[in-house]
Amino acid sequence: MALLHIAEPGQSAITHEQKLAVGIDLGTTNSLVATVSKDGASALPDDRGEASLASVVSYADPAKVVVGREALAAASEHPTDTLSSVKRFMGRGYADARDEAERSQYKLTNEDAGMVSFATSSGVVSPVQASAEILKTLRLRAQAALGGSVDGAVITVPAYFDEAQRQATKDAATVAGIPVLRLLNEPTAAAVAYGLESKGEGLTAVYDLGGGTFDISILHLHRDVFEVRATGGDTALGGDDFDNLIGDWILHELGSPKLKAGEHRTLVSLARAAKEALSDCAEVVIPLQALQLDTSELVLTQNRFDEMIKPLVKRTIQACRRAVRDAGLSPVDIENVVLVGGSTRVPLVRAAVEDYFQRKPLLGIDPDQVVAIGAAIQADILVGNRPEGELLLLDVIPLSLGIETMGGLVEKIVNRNTTIPVSRAQEFTTYKDGQTALAVHIVQGERELVSDSRSLARFELRGIPPMVAGAARILVSFQVDADGLLSVSAREETTGVQSSIVVKPSFGLSDEQIGSMLQASYSHAEEDKEARVLAELCVAAKQLLEGLAVALAADGDELLDSQEREALDAQMLRVEEQLTTGDAAVLRAVSDQLGRDSEAFAARRMDKSIRTALTGVTLDDVSEEIGE
């Protein structure tokens, strides 16, 4: 598919067959997979009819990894081999994760100063691998239900996930053999589900309190465009913290006895059950027989529970306040409030949200499924199953991006809540005479000092010719794509010396690491890999040729001179010749070359389409449309 198919809405240049697209909510506590069928979007259940898959992976048996309900059942028996809430460890370093791990009783390893890993009976397991097991289970479920392999998935992440956490999620999908169409922010997914349901317009706040993360997003739905106006939150605040508070309280009431590892898990599940019961009752009796202590039960009242969690709930409301302000709004401007995540069933949470926004929240869709359903809808759009491509999402980056300057200070290059994709460039210079290299250190966060920010990557621009201090002009460009992932390049303007990097966060995985994980997961090779690669290349090359032919017929004469046209035709012929030779490497090379050769043409078509898009619409027309 060579060129930008700038077809009129509804007429695609090539007819697509329906593709299998799914939305995946990879949650801290539970995960779901959903898809769009002719009856609408819905979550896919397992063979027992349950849509929720417990995000728990057991490595107790080195011969067999177990995911979900069965793994959860083994948690008390094999505490250090049963990984739950791994989402909280995604993209995190050892120092970040230590407190978290102490609570959960895991054995952490910190072998290569990279992302934290867990020591289990089946060897060292990274959070990415554990997440990949969950994703793989969901992929198999979807394939069984839909009868084919998954062509693409939209996977949701908390809006407030940073670069490292996003990259880790994408890596997990790669390891699980899932082609990722997009990472989508969870609150945005929820808004999509509601937006399409109600055909609503206006400003919507999505308050998403899950098991381990909190997100707030302010969105504006205007006809078919969803514009995220602001987002905020906390990646380490959720229902699990409520459970832990109850657990701490129980221990305190019992005079702080020392628990065995397995008992800690029991304590947490007792706490969770108590929390859930308190959503409907004023008080709950917590049975303690399982802990084998002197006290057999404790009574927890809703008032006491509210007191415990109040500071956490308050933190979420402060994040709401900041997001509303970042959007340039006040709470009364918000027309709809959507609640997402199981933790929004807690009465105090509901009351606090209602009180801040002065509005009753919408409740139409199951808060546990709404994210997966929104992701499925977006996946369906992205694979091209809806030729008119009805809905467009304009998302933002959650945290500011910048680089380190003299004195350990952060120079922000892209501010938080900037709509993506975004390209920004800023000029820097050398500070020493004869300086020939410049180190670029990329950081993320809102703070002024590098030491308070998250370090994402470092690279060096070398080969600057010696000049007096301040004479070099170094342009550092940031580009953030629609997934919120960053690439950075630096270029010395007077000489053209250039260097660039696709940011793999410090805690991310190297391509080799991903490769070896993939290898491991495909140890029983499902199919002849090489043959598949060639087949895929052939399909892609044919689509490229076909698309280019359509584009050339439409605009070739107008946008290309005869020389350019001849060059393109010649390269197309080369690709065609290679279609039958069966050499994957050659076919890839000529196809890639054709892709590059046709980029200028693509750019001209894009320009033309912009001009067309804006001509023929007079000022009056548009003013009328928007009701001025």
Partner: protein, 178 residues
């Protein structure tokens, strides 16, 4: 690959007239319309090359929109189009009277946390800042219309001062709420 080379300026890109008092509703309508054509999601199932082109174009449109949406950014951009660079703007001399006012406002902000009713005081102060900003926006428009570029530039600098002050007030407010 060639980076997107739009010959048009941002006003032309959105087909809105090149004036400070533009219609934000119209601007955002045009913005959404353009993104509807250019956003990389529209090319999610297309080749990597097409997606790269789409990312660059879409980013360019975002940049243009962000600039025109914000009054201060818009004013600075209009000066840039008139041949006054950002460096020239920040080198503009500001009259002493304005600077005195700024010092007073700053002192007020710093002492606000100790007041009996700091929330209300802060609210008053913030609306005062907003009103001052509006006045300097008028000053900018008039100077630019009369082609007095250094006058327009100095109005921009004053708006920058007030922007900074407003941000500080916001931080204090956030502190009060905690």
């Amino acid at each position: 690959m060639a980076s997107p080379d739009f010959q048009q300026n941002y006003f032309e890109l959105f087909s809105v007239s090149r004036e400070f008092d533009l219609s934000l509703a119209l601007l955002s309508e045009r913005f959404r319309h353009l993104q509807g054509q250019l956003h990389p999601d529209r090319y999610a199932s297309k080749s990597a090359h097409e997606q790269r082109v789409a990312v660059q174009y879409s980013a360019f449109v975002n940049q243009a929109y962000t600039t025109l949406k914000d009054p201060l950014e818009r004013a600075l951009y209009m000066l840039e189009l008139a041949g006054v660079s950002a460096e020239q703007v920040s080198a503009e001399k500001i009259d002493g009277g304005f600077l005195m006012e700024q010092m007073e406002l700053r002192e007020k902000i710093e002492s606000i946390a100790d007041m009996v009713d700091p929330e209300t005081a802060l609210e008053h102060l913030m609306s005062e800042i907003a009103q001052d900003t509006k006045n300097h926006e008028r000053e900018f428009v008039e100077a630019l219309e009369a082609d007095v570029l250094n006058g327009a530039a100095s109005a921009c600098v004053k708006m920058q001062f007030l922007r900074k002050l407003h941000q500080e007030a916001e931080q204090i407010e956030a502190g009060l709420l905690n």
